[in-house]
């Protein structure tokens, strides 16, 4: 059988483009590279995480610094959230963490607010000050209850 070099070139180009597509899907879209170790691991405990999911964003002042790496229950039955953030950032020990919602029905994320302490959080440290997620249904429930009390008086 005659082997044309053009044909081999086309096969090569096909394989190259295919692999490039897989790489694009995996790395750029799937974020396969972002999960490597070496980031700063912090722990925050919340009474209520609401709809927070693994891989939710962790932001400081609105800038994305990392993501939630795990959500588990600790022995006191509170939600223990592990955060994986950029280890170049130095956060004071009195940093607080709160769960917020992007928009009315958007995804939930964690906002860190740095405090004023001189010392910085080390890998594996726990964030002391946390604020749980607000659950819309409960707030509406309370509102309705209060309105009911007001009107009956």
């Amino acid at each position: 059988m005659y082997h044309s070099p053009v044909r081999d070139l086309l096969v090569g180009i096909f394989v190259l483009f295919g692999l490039a597509s897989i790489a694009y899907l995996s790395v750029s879209l799937g974020g396969a590279s972002y999960r490597g170790p070496g980031g700063l691991e912090l722990i925050a405990t919340f009474d209520q995480v609401g709809g927070l999911k693994v891989r939710a964003q962790v932001v400081v002042g609105g800038v994305k610094l990392g993501q939630v790496s795990a959500i588990t229950l600790d022995e006191d039955l509170r939600a223990r959230v592990e955060l994986n953030i950029d280890d170049q950032v130095k956060l004071p020990t009195d940093t607080s963490a709160s769960i917020l919602t992007a928009g009315m029905l958007g995804d939930q994320y964690i906002e860190l607010e740095p405090g004023g302490e001189e010392e910085f959080l080390n890998p594996g440290d726990e964030i002391q000050y946390t604020q749980s997620a607000l659950i819309l249904e409960r707030m509406i429930g309370k509102l309705v209850q209060n309105l009911g009390v007001d009107s009956s008086e």
């Binding site: 044909r7 081999d8 096969v11 394989v15 295919g18 899907l25 799937g30 974020g31 995804d107």
Partner: protein
């Protein structure tokens, strides 16, 4: 002697089980021979041209078209809820999880699977496989294994190309025609897609479909009846059986692994 309906049923069942056993033996043989492929790299390259490069045009054009339709349909639905900025997630998730692997496999079945079955079965008709056996060359080694392996290699690559072009098609319609913000499209796309479940699942699906189409096409080719009607029957049943098994396997892969 007259055959009773129950005997007829028994015969059919026996034939079906026999066929399944032959297919399993054939699969094992092809698997065993595929380990010898380094010596047949030249043949694999030739077959990759037939399966991969010649399927590129149909896969690319379909990918863009499907992405554009998804963009349009997704936008029309999302805009009712004022959520058109999540268009990227809708287009991306449907393409990566379902439409990319399944549609690519169906297209490749029609384009390359039928060609493999037709080629091998016409070799059966003209007794070329018997000729090879007479020269003590194993036709499974020279003809079947390179074709099957080329299909298995090409399917994930074609599926990934289909998905990337589909995402481009969705971007084209969403951003340029319908006025969704380009940054929003890409952010929601990146936010929705996870490597371990979505992308890996998509590649596994494409790989499984590649194995299915490869085995069915080559098996139907090799076992074709040696006359011209046998060629057409082999080709038709390849497309029918492969398409149906792709859709059935798709359900089970999704149900078992949740991808």
């Amino acid at each position: 002697m007259k055959v009773t309906p129950i005997q007829n049923l028994g015969q059919r069942a026996t034939r079906w089980v026999l066929e399944l056993g032959r297919f399993t033996l054939f699969t094992l043989q092809v698997l065993r021979i595929s380990t010898r492929i380094p010596q047949r790299l030249r043949r694999l390259m030739d077959e990759l041209y037939g399966v991969g490069v010649l399927s590129l045009a149909i896969v690319c054009i379909s990918g863009i078209a499907v992405g554009m339709v998804l963009g349009l349909q997704g936008y029309n639905t999302l805009v009712r809820f004022g959520a058109e900025e999540s268009l990227g997630a809708v287009v991306g998730l449907s393409l990566i999880r379902e439409l990319g692997p399944v549609l690519t496999a169906l297209l490749v079945t029609g384009r390359a699977g039928s060609a493999i079955a037709a080629e091998i079965s016409s070799m059966v008709v003209t007794q070329q496989l018997d000729g090879l056996r007479m020269m003590s060359i194993d036709p499974l080694d020279l003809i079947v294994a390179p074709k099957a392996l080329a299909m298995v290699v090409a399917m994930p690559l074609l599926s990934a190309l289909f998905i990337v072009l589909g995402l481009g098609g969705g971007y084209l319609v969403g951003v340029f025609f319908l006025g969704v913000d380009g940054g929003n499209y890409l952010t929601s796309l990146e936010g929705a897609i996870e490597f371990s479940s979505d992308v890996m699942g998509s590649l596994i699906k494409a790989l499984v479909f590649g194995v299915l189409v490869a085995l069915i096409a080559t098996y139907k080719g090799v076992t074709a009846e040696p006359h011209s009607a046998g060629v057409s029957r082999a080709t038709t049943s390849t497309v029918v059986i492969a398409s149906v098994s792709i859709l059935i396997f798709d359900y089970f892969i999704t149900a078992l692994w949740g991808v």
